[in-house]
Symmetry: C2
Subunit: 406 residues, 2 copies
Amino acid sequence: MVKPLWEKKRRGTVTSPLGFYASGVHAGIKKKKKRFDSALIVSRTPCVAAGTFTTNRVKAWPVLHSMKAIQALKHRAILASSGNANCMNGPNGKEAVAECVREAARLLNIGEEEVLAAQTGLIGIPFPVTRFKKAIPALVSRLSEEGGHAAAKGILTTDLSTKEVALSFYLGDKKVTIGAMGKGAGMVHPNMATMLCFITTDVAITKPILRRALRHAVDDTFNQMAIDNDMSTNDMALVLANGEAGNPAIQRVDRDYRTFREALEEVCRIMAYEMVKDGEGVTHVCTLKVSGAKNPTEAEKAARQIANSMLFKTMLAGADPNWGRIAAAIGASGIAFDPLSLNIAFGNAVVVHHGRLRVLNLPKARRILQRKEYTIDVTLGKGRGRAQFVTSDLTTKYVMINASYS
Amino acid sequence: MVKPLWEKKRRGTVTSPLGFYASGVHAGIKKKKKRFDSALIVSRTPCVAAGTFTTNRVKAWPVLHSMKAIQALKHRAILASSGNANCMNGPNGKEAVAECVREAARLLNIGEEEVLAAQTGLIGIPFPVTRFKKAIPALVSRLSEEGGHAAAKGILTTDLSTKEVALSFYLGDKKVTIGAMGKGAGMVHPNMATMLCFITTDVAITKPILRRALRHAVDDTFNQMAIDNDMSTNDMALVLANGEAGNPAIQRVDRDYRTFREALEEVCRIMAYEMVKDGEGVTHVCTLKVSGAKNPTEAEKAARQIANSMLFKTMLAGADPNWGRIAAAIGASGIAFDPLSLNIAFGNAVVVHHGRLRVLNLPKARRILQRKEYTIDVTLGKGRGRAQFVTSDLTTKYVMINASYS
């Protein structure tokens, strides 16, 4: 298959696809006066939607709302806020979501079931429903085609910058665009964990096929990143597709589907990478590639164990090619492997070849680990199983941020 | 059963039981001139021995040696060193262990199979066998009944202090003593991971019964502590019993067995607690008690997930009763539980009762978290499953130590 020729948009965001409007305002959920803490994304025409949600057994109220609402056939809006997770705060939290969704639906003149909801922030405190509800008219009145960036700001917590992207590509002669915004920072971890990502697209597609494409994209991107080893109660990825691109609707797994899915996956990959890069206290981003495993499951097990190892992550912080920690993590992952066929390369500096240290390459490896972004390749043996994770270093700053969050 | 009246010995150590001698010297494995880096423990009479070993698939050479040697019927000595893990450094590492064990056996005039070996330190570098071998005569000549403390120093790496203890108790009219020394610090984690513990006792016991008691004690102590989420390649716990106490040999699961096992478990518990307390950068030690789970397995799952959560551990560093992180970790553990029956108490400050926050108790909880040592109680529901973990905070100091270890 020819790789789709997609075009990454400068300043692309959720309002890049045709027919999407967005806004963000300060509602007063966050204490700091000017920090945006709420966002709204609306399509002018009905969309099909798909979502993936946290696997944490404790699910925030907006997650429970959206898991149910996503079952409707058509959707129009995503209502989001930051600063308060609206989780484990009793039945009032549930009512808070319902009330705000109702208010947004009323003002937008759409059905309540067409509004998906997402929230992020501190767990276990009452949700300031009155304040948020009061801000919804402002969110609605500020909806615009230029509102993507404001909306992206409205969902941040400890993130240092917004995460936005858009890609365009062609299906036949129709130009299709996918836009996205997200938040990551603390608690980013595999298993559909600990992040919000809202994706908009003007592609015409059926709901089941959209769901299939999203699952695939999420598995290969958001589920393979690691900042710390926790799974949030609030994570979700949502996609709205309004069909305004005018392409013949994608209805099955065909060439158009694959083109779309690859573009969607690229969008998710960019978002995941940006989330890891902006993780709390992160100073180095590592793309970890594991190959040569017996099968993909074993490759993923090893990659996950390495990517989440605190000793590995502190090693990255210190730019220290202490490969023994990688070997120990693989050993701890429980997969079968022969230490004598292990290869480890930091960038292009091969430090371990067939299980033996190449001392002369250590200085080069150290220089590579001093870069902001690099790849570490681990070969386990002769199998064909591969996996890739995006991970980050564990720094003193991470600890400082998280020791004083609430 | 009446709780055994054991007596904790002041300055008790591996040489407290009858007939044990020990020594420690600087062999030159560690660079710093005066730091001890080798240890020898010897019994004047033959012992039965038992051991538990790391479950990491990558095992250091001394682990492989001792796993095999432990199958012999009688043992006399433990030879240990620190500064170099002798792991993943090629077949020379295997030969290094064999050579040093041979030298020790020769000088002690005992069989090679009677010598168990353990090493700890950096992975993946050649073991300085000549230097260590040269130090063995000094280890042998310095063996003494007062040598326990020197030996305890010989196995430390980033530990700040030695870990030693001894308990005495009576079996009938015979006084029995158990002594122990250990090292923990970095990488301490459940699953028989990441620590060395050498236990000596003058009890008379059969080898299978000793093995049974050790497994039980290790499961409830070393396997339930958490400093970071890694499993070392070198961990082991060894016990030597020489029978000099003169009690009727423990041969089955009877009252004497239970008395001995409880004392052994207490020794391991003290050692585990000291290891966590002296973990890298640790400033707070938390005894985490989970109860009310459906069964002990689910209680342990929840406790393990909480105890190893980086967000939980940074929260302890910041003395911040952010109970939402505990709830999120339980949710992430995958066990079934009802958030509405969750209780969380920091010391005696109940912060969550039936899933709802008790705001007024937060200041008290904060004060408790500022202590060096405390208990956190988590009740999940009405089940009878319980588990207990000893865990520590994750501090900026941990990161600094581990970012520059090699």
